[in-house]
Each structure stands twice: as C-alpha cells, then as structure tokens.
C-alpha cells in the first residue's frame, strides 16, 4: 500500500471483494484521524425555532458577480446537478445529486440545509480525538451518499480540491448572517418518534405503491430524461446511495421522508407532513429493505461488516423476503 492509498483509503475499493485485510488496514488507519470518512455520523437534533423562525439564506438571484460569485455559482451547480458538473461528476459512482436529500438547493430548513451545517464545522469529536472539517464532511457524503468508490475517479475529491472549495463557498454564502458554532433551528432532519406498533416492511410497501411509485418507479430505479438528467432519483439498486450512507438508517430515512416526501405534499420549511409517523417508518424500512451498492467499509463478509459498522437501526445483514441483505448492487 502506497502513501497515497493511506491518504485516500477509499480510492480503488471499487470491488467490495477486495482482500479484507486491505480494507481493514485502510480503515484502521483512517478511523483514527478522520471519523467523517468512516461514518456518516448521526446529527444531533436541532432546537425548535423561536418566533423569528429559521435562518433566511440570501436569494439565489443575488449571488454577486466576480470571482467569489463564480465560485458560489459553481458550488451551487455542483450541488444540484452533481452528475452534470464538469468536476463534481467524476466523483459520482451512482445516479445521485447532492440536492436529492437536501431539498431546495440545500437551503430548506428540516432538509439538512447547508447553512445549518456551515457554522458547525470544524467539529471536535472526543470519540476519535479528531477535529472534523467541512472538507471531510463533504468527502464523506461523496463516499457514501454518492458512492464515490464506483466513480470515474474511484473515490471522493482530493482534500482542498476546487470542487470542495466551490461547494464551501456556496455553503458559506448561504449562511450569511447566521451565528457560528450553534446548532441552528432547522438543521438536519427533524426526528420522528418511533411508533408504538412494530415497523412493517410490507405495510411500507403499500405506502410506497400508493404514494411514491408514481415518481420513484415500481422498481425504485427513478426516472431519467433522454439526455441522462435526473427527473426522479433512484431509491435502491445500483443508482442509489450505498449501504454506508446515512439514509440507509431507518430512523434517518423516516425523518427525511416525514417532512420532505411525497414531493409537493410535505413541506420541510413549514414542517408539514403528509404521512403519519407509522407510515414514515414503515416506508423508510421498505426502501431500505432492498439491495444497494456495497458498504465501502466491507470487512470480508456481511456478518463482520454488520458487526463492525451496522450497530444502528438498519436492515444490513437482516433477512427480508427470504433474502439476507448486504450483497450490494451495481
């Protein structure tokens, strides 16, 4: 293993069946200094908004002219049209754009807005005794949500690369006037209490057919225009987020879905929901009961990957519809 491999441990781990030793070594090195890359850490809950409401980002029409504005615009485009952006697209190993899970160009409260994230990083985490930077957070999103291991580049963007700079210029611009170092109202997704009834994948399937399939497709593969641009994103299969992404946790997916989906019915900024808590959890479980690209932290077997990385609410290595999940897709 070269020095470069250690710095970018995820590069080249395209095939989950690479020798487990390699993956293990890469990650043990990595985990010490960079937890954002080994884990999409669950965010803490944000406080409720006061009478002044949520932070108001500036209008996208008011991005200034000049080199700073150019960088902001490039970062915005890399965020919403990641698969078309000349630089960002090289790091996308599935069929996602950042904006799929961060609605309204990453500006909507309760949709994990970027203005909510901006003032939180760099963030010290005692657990790994490391200061996590925004740079690393974004690289983590590329690694899991965008499955960078399967991309043309084979891994997330290099630290401090232009696309990361542009994205951060965009986040910075959107946070204008927001306090720094505070967990702002509207940050992250608003947690949905776990319902009293058991979570049911088959009830979730009914919700999905009734309320989601018209856009995301019966087979969860989404819809794309003739020129390849996304209309509706895939939720499972090769085009989806991978088994390491935050969205594969059922509680996180339920929280996203409750106030963001179905598109046009739920309203994140107004915190209006179209589904009951039970429906949100059930459909979140249904979506995450399908194969998707392998966890890039593959430990050599589903069981050992499960044990090491999946001690949260998810269906990795669980048996659903007669199939033990975790084979990967793509």
């Amino acid at each position: 293993m070269t020095a470069k491999d250690i710095k970018h441990p995820l590069r080249g781990i395209r095939n989950p069946l690479l020798p487990a030793v390699l993956a293990l070594f890469a990650f043990s090195v990595n985990a010490q200094d960079d937890e954002t890359l080994t884990k999409q850490v669950e965010l803490e809950q944000a406080p409720a908004p006061g009478p002044e409401g949520y932070h108001q980002p500036p209008s996208l029409d008011d991005i200034p002219e000049g080199p700073f504005g150019d960088s902001v615009r490039s970062g915005w485009q890399a965020f919403v049209n990641t698969r078309q952006h000349p630089e960002a697209k090289r790091f996308v190993g599935n069929k996602q754009n950042c904006g799929n899970c961060h609605l309204a160009s990453g500006l909507a409260a309760n949709s994990a807005p970027m203005w909510g994230a901006w003032g939180i990083y760099p963030k010290y985490r005692g657990k790994n005794d490391h200061v996590n930077t925004m740079d690393e957070r974004i690289r983590g999103c590329f690694t899991y949500s965008m499955n960078a291991g399967g991309s043309e580049a084979g891994g997330p963007p290099e630290p401090d690369s232009q696309v990361l700079k542009d994205m951060q210029a965009f986040f910075f611009w959107s946070a204008k006037g927001a306090p720094i170092g505070e967990n702002l109202p509207g940050r992250g997704y608003a947690a949905v209490p776990k319902p009293e009834n058991e979570i049911s994948v088959s009830r979730g399937e009914e919700v999905y057919q009734d309320q989601c399939a018209v856009c995301h497709g019966n087979d969860g593969s989404g819809k794309f225009a003739d020129d390849g641009r996304q209309i509706f994103p895939p939720l499972w299969g090769a085009g989806a987020y991978n088994w390491g992404a935050g969205m594969h946790r059922i509680n996180t997916a339920a929280a996203f879905i409750k106030y963001n989906m179905p598109l046009g019915k739920a309203s994140p900024v107004e915190k209006e929901a179209a589904l009951t808590d039970q429906q949100a959890w059930d459909v979140a479980a249904f979506i995450n009961s399908h194969e998707r690209p392998q966890d890039p932290r593959w430990e050599g077997s589903k069981a050992s990957t499960d044990e090491k990385w999946h001690t949260h609410q998810c269906l990795y290595n669980e048996t659903v519809r007669g199939h033990t999940l975790g084979d990967g897709a793509g």
């Binding site: 225009a225 209309i231 179905p262 019915k265 107004e270």
Partner: protein, 223 residues
C-alpha cells in the same frame, strides 16, 4: 447491385406497411374523423381545440396536439365521471365510448404542436417571478419547482405529469383555480391539488404566464 438491394428493401418495406396499415390507420382514421368531423351527437373537437389541436388561447381552451395519449384518456375518463368538471367538455367526454377516447387521444398525441407559444402581453417582472417559481419553486410556501414534476422544460413526464409548456395561460390558471375550489380532483394522490392550494393568485398568474411563453414540446410517453 445497389438498385436491386433497394428494390427488395422497398418491396419488404411496402409489404410491411400493408401488414401494419389496418391497425394503425383504423385507430387514426376513427380518431381523425372524431377530431375533425365529430360523431353522433359529438361536435368536432377541432371546433374548440383548433384544426391542428393547437388550442384557443383567447378562450382558454387547451392545446391537445402532442399531449401524452394516456394522460388524455385519463382526463376524458375524469371529465366523464365527474372527478373533473367543466360545463363545455364534460358532456362531450361522457358521450365518447372507451374506444373513441383512445382513438382520439392517439390522434392528438401524434400531432405536432404549434412552434410559436401562445404567450400573452405580460410584464417582464411578472415573467421573471414566474420563471423562478417554475424552476426553483417557493419553499417558504412549500412549493417545489414545477419543473421537478412537469419536466425540466415543462414538457411533461409520462402519463402522470402533463406537458404545461405552450398551453394558454388562461387555461393553466383555470386548472389551478379548479384544484383550489375542488372542482378538479382527479390528480394522482392529490399531488397537484396540494401544490395548487399553496399558490397565491399573483404567483399563479406569474407562473402560468411563464409556461405560456415557452414553446410546447411533445411529451414522449417514456420521457
């Protein structure tokens, strides 16, 4: 050599055409006849929707040319069963048989829509607001970009999300009002009703003016 090749090819193509002709033309002929001449107790569609199916902007009657055929059948069914109401169109839809609805929808779906948009005399400022709503929505009000469902150019997505580009502004606005008042309730899972109810009158005017200023593009059923 070349000549003979072309000859066999032509012969093959010709017999192929003959084979297909009865099925294609039966539907199209029946549809075309209904559209241009009407049927028993049914006025010709063209008398309101235009000879080429281009609609009538001044009256607020929709363009049918190039719309998705399945979408049009769904609308004719809805107009007939009352989940969508309109005094002019509902009686006509009711008097069409199931087969006639399919035939005529197929006919209009295959027509090329007019290349000039219906447009209208609208202030640039209003159009600008309309464009923002169309392409980015207004999330403070819970309104996603119209294009996220109706396609990047408003050209429609499959049978569920109709083409709204190049439709008369008045027609589009009437539909938004119909959802707000509850006289149109046929949309899948109330998706459009939910969006329409969040639109103010000013925003509805602005965004419909914007789509009326765009050229129609045929909505391919598998876009």
């Amino acid at each position: 050599m070349r000549g003979r090749y072309r000859f066999t090819c032509g012969l093959f193509g010709f017999s192929f055409l003959i084979l297909l002709m009865p099925t294609i033309s039966a539907a199209n002929e029946a549809g075309k006849k209904l559209a241009l001449q009407g049927g028993e107790g049914v006025q010709p569609c063209s008398s309101c929707h235009g000879a080429q199916g281009g609609g009538n902007a001044a009256a607020g009657w929709p363009r049918l040319a190039g719309l998705n055929a399945d979408y049009m059948v769904q609308q004719l069914n809805a107009l007939a069963n009352g989940t969508r109401s309109n005094p002019l169109m509902a009686p006509i839809a009711s008097s069409l048989s199931e087969q006639q609805r399919k035939d005529v929808a197929e006919y209009f779906a295959n027509l090329t829509p007019p290349t000039t948009p219906p447009g209208g005399d609208v202030d640039q400022k209003i159009l600008k607001r309309g464009k923002v709503l169309a392409q980015r929505g207004d999330w403070q009000q819970g309104i996603p970009a119209c294009t996220s469902c109706h396609g990047l150019k408003g050209q429609g997505v499959g049978a569920a999300f109709p083409s709204i580009a190049g439709q008369p502004a008045m027609y589009l606005q009437n539909q938004i009002k119909a959802w707000q008042s509850g006289s149109r309730q046929n949309d899948p899972n109330g998706l459009m009703a939910s969006v329409a109810k969040r639109l103010s009158d000013e925003d509805s005017q602005a965004v419909t003016a914007w789509f009326a200023s765009l050229p129609a593009e045929p909505s391919k059923s598998d876009q």
